[in-house]
């Protein structure tokens, strides 16, 4: 994880949560939840 976490991510399906930065947020939006592969939207990220 990056040192500069800008968002808190919570998966709507598996409830996994983690702190992510901009580039990880973009990767998750494109590739889905890394834990359960659920499709994600920007609503699943909140600013820290």
């Amino acid at each position: 994880m990056s040192d500069s976490a800008d968002y808190t991510f919570v998966c709507p399906e598996c409830a996994e949560s983690m702190l992510v930065n901009d580039s990880m947020r973009d990767a998750l939006l494109e590739n889905g939840c890394v834990i359960c592969s659920a499709a994600l939207t920007t609503d699943d990220f909140s600013t820290t």
Binding site: M1, E13, C14, E30, V34, C36
Partner: protein
Amino acid sequence: MSLDQQTELSPDEIREVLSRHETGVLSLAKADEPYAIPISYGYDGETGRFYLRLVSTPESEKRQFLTSSPRARLVVHESNDGSYRSIIAEGTLERVDPDELTVERIVQYGKAKRPLFEIWGETKRDLDIQLFELDPETLGGRAVELDAAESDQ
């Protein structure tokens, strides 16, 4: 069938087979007790690493074999156009801590399909989904031409 009808696959051929498939059989062991399960995987042809999501519950048999970093073998095989090909990867299965995620890993797990064989009654929130990587210490593949093998019989 004689052994000389088998040919070793080149690294490029192995990469091609692994890249066009997404399922295989993962074998683990505990003492003298074997455990093999069908799994879905993602494969990075550049680094040679496999990316796996393994689902278990506290009571599941699988959990007993996933403690620490187990030795593992992954077998992928196919049969088409008169040819049979099999790949065997062997190494240590390393668990990936979600806190160690990187953009690269997110992309690789994005390529790994949903665990096709993991059908559970529980919702995802009640399952323990763990991420693993297999960086094979040995990776080999063989091909057998079925027509040639049958002509010997």
